[in-house]
């Protein structure tokens, strides 16, 4: 009876009584989204995600799922509870990866084929701006104060710092070959940019005005793995900044880096061709998408160990989580 009352109260408050967390995985070649229960790690369902779904994220309230449907040239939007499709958002051509503004009102989208970052209003569904960037824009990071979006361009090899106020590029930083991902620390004082073909992660300190200074370059080395297979892609940093996790592509490993010393502490074995990463909201687990083995690896963040893997759809690319 008590439980029932509690549930009712929660419903009244607009909260879901079904408290199981979920992970949404975009399957690039399967054209589907796999939904995984992050308590039981069972697949809940798989639904149509549009053509070539890659970048994937959720609204701050956890209710909407945004998916870059690259070959449909738009962003598909789904209800995270019912998986029903909601009206789509214009994205510009070939959207690959995007990042949502901290308030959820604007989506900053990398248009890989057109050397643009498109800014879309998630409420009015209108394009607010198109920012010309380098060749093959991909990685998108946003500063915690919501003032800068960082885009990486894969063939230009730069991190472009775009002001979210006037949509002008304020800083450009050359990094190593084929930069894939940009990730700020939660306090906004540091930015990590991975370079897939360069095999490095560039570390920048960010000053009060948001200006970057390169302070270090992290390299990787795994015994019996050819150095050219160590291809850094997805990057995630723990809330306290103490640990940085970097997906290493065809090396089939996630590197664990000390956020203070920037030393690589360990390499966690995952499935094959690991690209993107996401924490569960409680940061207990880190999920990796493994594009060639069609699975995700669940990593216990505290233990820094792979816990299990879950089969998903064809060529999993990105992952997003909700409570």
């Amino acid at each position: 009876m008590k439980t029932l009352l509690l549930s009712t109260a929660l419903v009244a408050l607009g909260l879901s009584p079904a408290l199981a967390g979920k992970a949404f995985i975009s399957n690039e070649r399967g054209n589907t989204i796999t939904v995984v229960d992050t308590d039981t790690w069972e697949v809940i369902t798989e639904f149509d995600g549009g053509n070539r779904p890659r970048g994937i994220t959720v609204s701050p309230d956890g209710k909407k799922l945004y998916v870059c449907a690259s070959d449909d040239n738009l962003v598909r939007v789904f209800d995270t509870e019912t998986y029903e499709e909601l009206p789509t958002l214009p994205s510009g051509p070939d959207p690959e990866l995007f990042i949502l503004g901290k308030d959820g009102k604007r989506l900053f989208i990398a248009n890989e084929d057109d050397n643009l970052v498109t800014v879309t209003d998630t409420e009015t569904r209108e394009i607010l701006a198109e920012v010309p960037v380098g060749v093959e824009p991909e990685g998108m990071g946003i500063s915690p104060d919501n003032k800068f979006v960082v885009n990486t361009s894969e063939t230009t090899n730069m991190a472009h710092f775009i002001s979210t106020e006037d949509y002008e590029i304020k800083h450009n930083v050359l990094v190593d070959q084929r930069p894939r991902f940009a990730q700020y620390t939660a306090d906004g004082t540091r930015l990590y940019v991975s370079a897939e073909i360069g095999g490095t992660v560039t570390v920048m300190d960010i000053d009060e005005d948001g200006a970057p200074t390169v302070v270090d370059t992290i390299t990787f080395e795994v015994p019996n793995v050819r150095p050219e297979w160590l291809q850094p892609v997805g990057v995630r940093v723990t809330e306290d900044g103490s640990r940085v996790f970097v997906a290493l592509g065809p090396a089939n490993r996630v590197a664990v880096i000390d956020g203070e010393t920037l030393e690589v502490l360990d390499y966690i074995l995952t499935g094959q061709r690991v690209w993107q990463l996401a924490f569960t909201p409680d940061e207990k687990y880190l999920i990796s998408t493994n594009g060639n083995s069609n699975d995700i690896t669940i990593i216990d963040v505290e233990a820094e160990e792979a816990m299990r893997s879950v089969q998903v759809g064809q060529a999993p690319w990105g992952v997003a989580t909700i409570d």
Binding site: D113, G134, E168, H171, N172, R178, I197, G198
Partner: protein
């Protein structure tokens, strides 16, 4: 010389991002020599009028996008000429003050043009000629090779055959000097990787009719006859640089065996269906601009100019010697949709790059193969290695 540099050395622009950037205007040329050729065995291999040039246009686009953030601009002129017009075309390009030149030509012409260009301090990129000699005894200090050598291509195929444990090869060579030079590369590859050439046969180029309406009927009857009574073999290696017979070998052998080399599974720098390592984006951009699929020579020219772009971006100069020094240094690396950076061999100016093995439809494999190790880079298991190099121009 270097007129275009003097104008810009003085002009330093300050970017909106606060740090000083040096304005550099980069001018380059692509010089293509069009030889009289017979039709290829396959219509898919017809040379488009814009071969190489569309690669140059794409490279200019790519380089200018990057350059727009640094104050660098790129402009590449293209010239397509008959063999007897090549020298005059080079003079014209040099007289325009251009000192970065990509050449699509046969070896003898590449050498002559490179030597003339050297007199003017120009840097030349070889985007087509595959003879091993021009990287070896005949190498030139101002000549960088983006096109792989015959030996790199043969080694790429050989590694795959050895990985498959197809170690007994039947070598079928054409009768033209270029075919025999390629055949020699396969002989060396066999020796290098422990395979055996159990028999070698020469397929005479008699100038016979090909691609006639009934061609396939004759091919079907004649080739098996040519291919009978052979030693036992695992694979047929075809050395047909002229492109007159190797395309017919698959399915027309006496003994059913895979064909590799100039027919069947072929080594290429790029093809229009290659998608790995982000190449889909390259294919999309190329297709949008060219309205056709990319051919290896387009990719080679694109890559040569991207080498220039990367050197200008990092070294902030368009001076030929400085670009040469930078690309030969350890600092240089460039992403080229091959899964690992491409670099240059400092001892002979040859670009190191993975070689794609293509069946005419998809990427079957990419060499170097797993297990072929080298103290410096697995890429140096393909082509002339430093200890065997007789090139002294880079010392």
């Amino acid at each position: 010389m270097r007129v275009w540099i003097s104008a810009l050395v003085a002009s330093v622009i300050v970017g909106v991002w606060g740090s000083a950037a040096v304005a550099v205007d980069v001018r380059a040329a692509v010089l293509r020599v069009d030889y009289p050729r017979l039709l290829p065995v396959s219509r898919f291999d017809l040379r488009p009028d814009d071969i190489g040039f569309t690669g140059a246009a794409l490279a200019d686009d790519d380089n200018n996008s990057t350059g727009s953030f640094l104050g660098h601009t790129y402009e590449t002129v293209t010239r397509a000429v008959d063999p007897d017009e090549a020298d005059a075309a080079l003079e014209e390009v040099l007289s325009e003050g251009i000192r970065l030149i990509v050449v699509q030509a046969e070896s003898a012409d590449v050498m002559r043009l490179a030597d003339r260009a050297a007199e003017e301090g120009a840097l030349v990129f070889n985007a087509a000629a595959s003879d091993t000699e021009i990287r070896d005894t005949e190498c030139r200090a101002n000549l960088l090779h983006v096109a792989p050598s015959n030996q790199m291509m043969a080694d790429a195929v050989a590694q795959f055959a050895v990985w498959k444990q197809w170690e007994d090869w039947l070598l079928v060579e054409g009768s033209n000097p270029a075919d025999q030079a390629l055949g020699e590369a396969y002989r060396r590859a066999a020796e290098k990787f422990g395979a055996r050439i159990v028999e070698a046969r020469s397929f005479e180029d008699t100038g016979g009719s090909r691609r006639t309406d009934s061609g396939h009927v004759l091919v079907q009857q004649q080739l098996p006859v040519f291919m009978q009574d052979t030693e036992d073999h695992d694979v047929v290696m075809a050395a047909d640089a002229t492109d007159y017979f190797a395309g017919y070998l698959p399915y027309h052998l006496w003994t059913p065996r895979p064909v590799m080399g100039s027919g069947g599974l072929r080594p290429v720098t790029m093809h229009g269906a290659h998608e790995a390592w982000g190449a889909t984006q390259f294919q999309t951009r190329f297709g949008k601009s060219a309205g056709r699929y990319v051919m290896p020579e387009d990719y080679n020219v694109w890559l040569a100019l991207r080498v220039v772009g990367e050197a200008v971006t990092r070294a902030e100069t368009a001076e030929p010697d400085a670009i040469r020094d930078y690309v030969l240094s350890d600092a240089f690396e460039l992403a080229a949709f091959k899964g690992q950076p491409v670099t240059f061999r400092a001892w002979n100016g040859q670009m190191r790059q993975p070689i794609i093995l293509f069946d005419g439809r998809i990427t079957v494999s990419v060499s170097p193969q797993e297990g072929f190790l080298h103290e410096r880079s697995p890429l140096d298991t393909m082509g002339l290695d430093q200890p065997e190099s007789q090139c002294t121009a880079f010392n």
